[in-house]
């Protein structure tokens, strides 16, 4: 019975009459047909979802060929002229493109330094609370902004920090200098980071809190009895327990380094101008959907996709070298 169970874990459909031969003949042709017949309900359940991925992901992925074409809407995708790498050549020679790349990487790095550690710290603070009711209340409040759209978040920031907003009214009432934050290109990058922190630092704590609660309390107790103070317990128990998660999130962040908050940037680009707010995604948007230069914009998008995939792949390899779990094996 134990063996049969192990054989049939996952799929017990073959249990019963065909249980014995289900595994032996799995590689055979007949059994494939048998499995197909056996699984048709499951396949039917999957069909709409699989069709979605084929059409809207792989179909669209195939559409990237226009990066190698001079796309003319009137001619359509297939009749447009092949131009080889012309779009890429134009792109690499375009200072506007490099400015967008620079902005993207710059904002991503600022986020890494100033946003990434905040949820870790907040999670540790929340975890250290002894009163569950307080912790749960703060958690509920802090998660909330994650569920608001970027439109709302940007509107809230305008309302609080804008020219006629809360902050400037308070400063004005106190006869202090008002500050010019919204619509000011030099203040834009700190503003963007502040918005990300406001929206997502609470939500970001979830995964760290889960890791922290998994630590066996006895480890802390044993360490304390051996004379380890709060800092040493933090350094030797708490920190190692969240390290795999930190590595995992860093890898995912790295793969995403070329796509920083597209909606967030698009919403505010008009008020500060492209020099401060153009990132690769908005570059693609303005070149392609606004400017109509589809082939060129698709080339920039494809560049971003390829670099992102290579970065994730590399980071995952490095993580494995360092003995971490990484994202996938």
């Amino acid at each position: 019975m134990a063996i049969a169970e192990r054989d049939a874990t996952g799929r017990t459909g073959a249990a019963g009459a065909s249980g014995a031969d289900g595994r032996a003949g799995r590689r055979g042709r007949g059994s494939r047909l048998a499995r197909l017949r056996r699984d048709w309900v499951l396949l039917a359940l999957m069909a709409p979802g699989v069709a979605y991925f084929l059409v809207f992901h792989y179909g669209a992925l195939a559409g990237n060929v226009i990066a190698f074409k001079d796309y003319v809407p009137f001619d359509g995708l297939w009749a447009s002229q092949w131009v080889g790498l012309d779009n890429f050549r134009a792109m690499f020679g375009d200072p506007a493109f490099w400015s967008a790349v620079l902005n993207t990487v710059w904002i991503a790095l600022l986020q890494l330094v100033f946003f990434f550690p905040v949820p870790i710290g907040l999670a540790m603070l929340l975890h250290s609370l002894t009163r569950d009711s307080v912790r749960r209340f703060v958690q509920s409040v802090a998660y909330l902004p994650h569920f608001l759209s970027w439109v709302i978040v940007v509107a809230v920031f305008q309302q609080v920090l804008g020219e006629t907003g809360l902050l400037n009214n308070v400063l004005g009432d106190a006869h202090l200098h008002t500050v010019d934050i919204i619509g000011n290109p030099t203040a834009f990058k700190p503003l963007v980071i502040a918005e990300v922190i406001w929206k997502d630092c609470g939500w970001g704590t979830i995964i760290f809190l889960a890791a922290l609660t998994q630590v066996d309390e006895q480890q802390y107790e044993a360490a304390a009895i051996d004379g380890a103070g709060p800092w040493r317990r933090f350094w030797h128990i708490t920190l190692p327990s969240v390290r795999p998660i930190i590595v995992l999130l860093l890898i995912m962040r790295l793969g995403d380094i070329l796509s920083v908050g597209f909606e967030q940037m698009l919403l505010q680009r008009a008020s500060v101008g492209p020099d401060a707010a153009e990132v690769i995604d908005t570059f693609v948007y303005y070149k392609g959907l606004v400017g109509g230069d589809y082939g060129y914009a698709a080339a920039a998008g494809l560049f971003k996709g390829v670099v992102g995939a290579v970065l994730v792949f590399t980071a995952n390899k490095v993580a494995h070298r360092l003995g971490e779990q990484g994202v996938y094996r």
Partner: protein, 315 residues
């Protein structure tokens, strides 16, 4: 039936605790210094205030009278003469009312369609030996690593003649890979014995899914459903590129008239002489766009801490 999910959840819960968390600190922990305690309290208060105060201002301003707004210089912390005028004007028909219906409809239909497709995929892919399961899973996970890009996506939607139809807000984002992984992870935790027992009783896949797996996965379904609903409710970018302004959902209206600073057209807000200050109207739109989320949030947030998400993230 409700006792089973409880026990299920406990097996995948975060902490192997035997009793509820002790309200007092264990004996081996040093008594914290007052300075530390105070610093913590300040930090927590700051977090709570930073989130709540902007909301308070927005809600207050939306209820404020014109005089309040002028006196406050554009914003109001507590309206002296509260009025519903801004809301009357918004709901008098016109752009915002229409957009509200669009958003509600897209959210309802989209969430239902997404949940159905995600459940189908997650259930089939949670069975280890399913025909073609491995290649299909890889096919799907690869899209996570390499998204297709904005321009090809736009041309595809255009090619499928979905422009200016509400389908363009749902079809291109039908299944979210993260939600799929969460749900699949949860389905996989359903004990194998339940399948065997059901099968011995003659139940087919369809019956097992409906009568055993789905009732056991209410927590995960609630979370995934919330994620879908929120993303449909909050979506504006696709609306801005796929739809003309007659089809706009609420967030796109909000984007244009609040973030973009355009005035709502006079025709949309009724009698121009009775118009409330633009500030209050803008804030009222903001409130209308936020309230549905505030309403469902308390019912669902308890699931977030229950390991529903993190269990899947780890796998």
């Amino acid at each position: 039936m409700s006792s089973v999910p409880q026990s299920l959840r406990r097996t995948r819960s975060d902490r192997p605790r035997t009793a509820p968390r002790r309200p007092v600190r264990p004996a081996w922990v040093e008594q914290p210094r007052p300075a530390t305690q105070a610093a913590k309290a300040v930090a927590l208060a700051a977090v709570v205030l930073l989130v709540t105060v902007p909301f308070l201002i927005i809600v207050s301003t939306s209820f404020a009278s014109n005089a309040d707004v002028v006196a406050g210089g554009g914003w109001v912390l507590w309206p002296e003469h509260p009025t519903l005028r801004a809301y009357h004007e918004l709901f008098d028909g016109g752009i915002v009312t229409h957009a509200l219906w669009v958003s509600a409809g897209v959210t309802a239909v989209g969430t239902a369609a997404s949940l159905a497709c995600t459940i189908g995929l997650a259930y089939a892919l949670s069975r280890r030996d399913v025909f073609a399961g491995k290649p299909i899973l890889l096919l799907i996970l690869f899209t996570f690593l390499f998204p297709p890009g904005m321009i090809p996506g736009f041309l595809l939607v255009k090619g499928l003649h979905l422009l200016d139809s509400y389908g363009s807000l749902v079809a291109p984002v039908l299944v979210n890979v993260f939600n799929l992984v969460v749900l699949r992870g949860f389905f996989q935790s359903v004990p194998e014995e339940l399948y065997e027992a059901a099968r011995l009783d003659g139940a087919g896949e369809w019956l097992i899914l409906r009568r055993i797996v789905l009732p056991l996965s209410k927590a995960a379904l609630a979370v995934v459903g919330l994620f879908y609903a929120v993303s449909y409710w909050n979506a504006w970018f696709y609306a801005s590129i796929y739809l003309d302004s007659d089809h706009w959902p609420l967030q796109q209206v909000l984007r244009t008239y609040v973030v973009g600073g355009s005035q709502l057209a006079d025709s949309s807000v009724g009698d121009a002489s009775a118009v409330a200050a633009p500030q209050t109207i803008q804030m009222a739109v903001l409130v209308v766009a936020t309230v549905p989320i505030l309403l469902v949030y308390p019912f669902l947030q308890k699931y977030f801490t229950k390991g529903v998400l993190t269990g899947a993230v780890k796998s």
